[in-house]
Amino acid sequence: MSLTWRLPGFSLDVAWEAGDGVAGLFGPSGSGKTLTLQCLAGLARPDGGRIAVDGRVLFDAAAGIDVPPQQRRVGYVFQGYALFPHLSVAENVGFGLRDRPRAERGRRAGEVMERLELQPFAARMPRELSGGQRQRVALARALATDPALLLLDEPLSALDLPLRRALRDDLRAILAQWGTAAVLVTHDFTEAYRLGDRIVVYESGRVIQSAPRSELLWRPASEAVARIMGIRNVLRGTVAKATPDRIQLHWRGQLLEAVNSPIRSYLPAPGAPLAFFIRPEYVRLIRKDRGAADPSHHMNLMRAQVVDAADFGTTWTLRLRLDEPGPPAQGDHDLEVEVPSLVYEILDIARDRHWELSIHRGSIHVLPT
């Protein structure tokens, strides 16, 4: 699909494709994700572009095609679920089946409720349901019509956090089991990653990356994508030397060595600015009771001091400042490092604040500019 939309102060201009499975539209609020869904459903009309599902053209500005929402065979799960408050659960689920014979309607609604374990609530009214049950009813209502494409707008955002996690995995199972192609909108990267087979990253009305989820996680297309994904330790250095399989770079008085991207091998000129990121859980603290660091085993060595430590229950997040003159790279610190609580205790980091670090070259991810 591709579409454009112009409004004073906002323009949407996006194009992406997705195969079977779930496409996760991910990006900050106001980046045009929901508007894209509404265009897909025919609830909003873009100024230009073309939308096709399974080869069936739903909208084509040039050809003057605009299939009305009633005929698009698109299921929509709204952010607030939009259950009809005056109808029971069974009536809500059967709402989209009106043009079928009465008997078949009841059978199909029953079958869908069965599969989503909603039978016990069939006679209840939406106001008598919990948030999680409402979400299921909304899902059942959309799936009952056997849509060619299922759209989900922030399906979990109306729920409390603990429930949200449980339902995220539920939803994943339902989508996988049902096998309907789906597009899901979320501003939570974990959600996009858990639920989407492919992730489309939105920023201010543009798509800045569209990739299978694992590729996105390990190879964000740009610094902007990395920042929107909430990746920590997104840093900027300058290139020292680039070869097809290695990139050396200067950063905070260090000469770091990184693996060049095997897919889009990248050869910037020496002295060029370069963004990269280091995942906090991949920085290693070197144990002092095992002798000096071994250069054949440890690389990208540096010394740093813990300036802050925050307890997250199962892990600790340390903020470290390198023993280098000049302003730290991220405010009061250069790197965030995450260690399991057990390691924090064994190494006695609470008392010992000075450490030598090493980062494997494979854990320094270079970002294309």
Partner: protein
């Protein structure tokens, strides 16, 4: 109560009921169209419908004569075609009551329809419902209490209509003399007992209607 008073009461109730039905037929589609911005020039329509609420009823009645009277814009062709004119029939009382009651229904029903989450309508569209069926199955049922409250108000207003009725329908006992008009005549001719009885009856009827309306309003909110 005298026979004349009973006649007036029966006529009033009949006129008010018919006017309420007409108000519903005109007002509910109008309220929906205005609430969902489906009417071109909705602002002008809204103004015209609301005007009787603020104009003196005699002015509204004057416009009705200009429109529906024997020599009126609609009335004259009608008279030429059928030989019938609405003026001084009980239908004139119905027309006057309808025009006066319409703004009360339209305003109340419009607010009720606007408070229905538009997302529910979108959901119905994606589930295959046409806009027409969506209005009938989703929007109007959800705005039901507000619409009924508006209808009750309209009925009360129709029951109490005086000025415009006098202008268009006159004050003919048994034909167009509704309770408010009968009260006026009774006071004019010094029948204070008759007037007091009718005043009491009309007050009680209106109180009952308003109580029902406020109940429904509370449930709608």
């Amino acid at each position: 109560m005298s026979d004349a008073a009973l006649d007036a009461l029966a006529l009033s109730v009949r006129v008010a009921l018919v006017a309420t039905v007409l108000t519903a037929a005109l007002g509910i589609p109008l309220a929906y169209g205005l609430a969902r911005r489906k009417i071109r020039g909705g602002g002008v329509v809204d103004l015209l419908v609301t005007l009787p609420l603020v104009l003196p009823p005699t002015v509204t009645g004057y416009y009705l004569i200009v429109l529906l009277g024997r020599y009126g814009w609609i009335g004259a062709p009608l008279y030429r075609a059928t030989g019938w004119t609405i003026a001084f029939t009980w239908w004139a009382a119905v027309a006057a009551a309808t025009v006066m009651a319409l703004p009360l229904l339209v305003r109340t029903a419009r607010a009720a329809i606007e408070s229905v989450d538009a997302e529910l309508e979108k959901a119905a569209f994606t589930l295959g419902r046409s806009e027409w069926r969506t209005a009938l199955e989703v929007t109007l049922p959800l705005a039901r209490n507000g619409i009924i409250a508006g209808l009750v108000l309209a009925f009360a207003r129709a029951l109490g209509e005086f000025g415009a009725t006098l202008m268009l329908a006159g004050n003919i006992p048994g034909r167009t003399a509704t309770v408010p008009l009968a009260i006026y005549s009774a006071v004019q001719t010094g029948e204070s007992g008759e007037a007091a009885v009718l005043v009491l009856v009309l007050t009680m009827l209106s109180c009952a209607v308003l109580l029902v309306a406020s109940r429904l309003g509370a449930r709608a909110a």
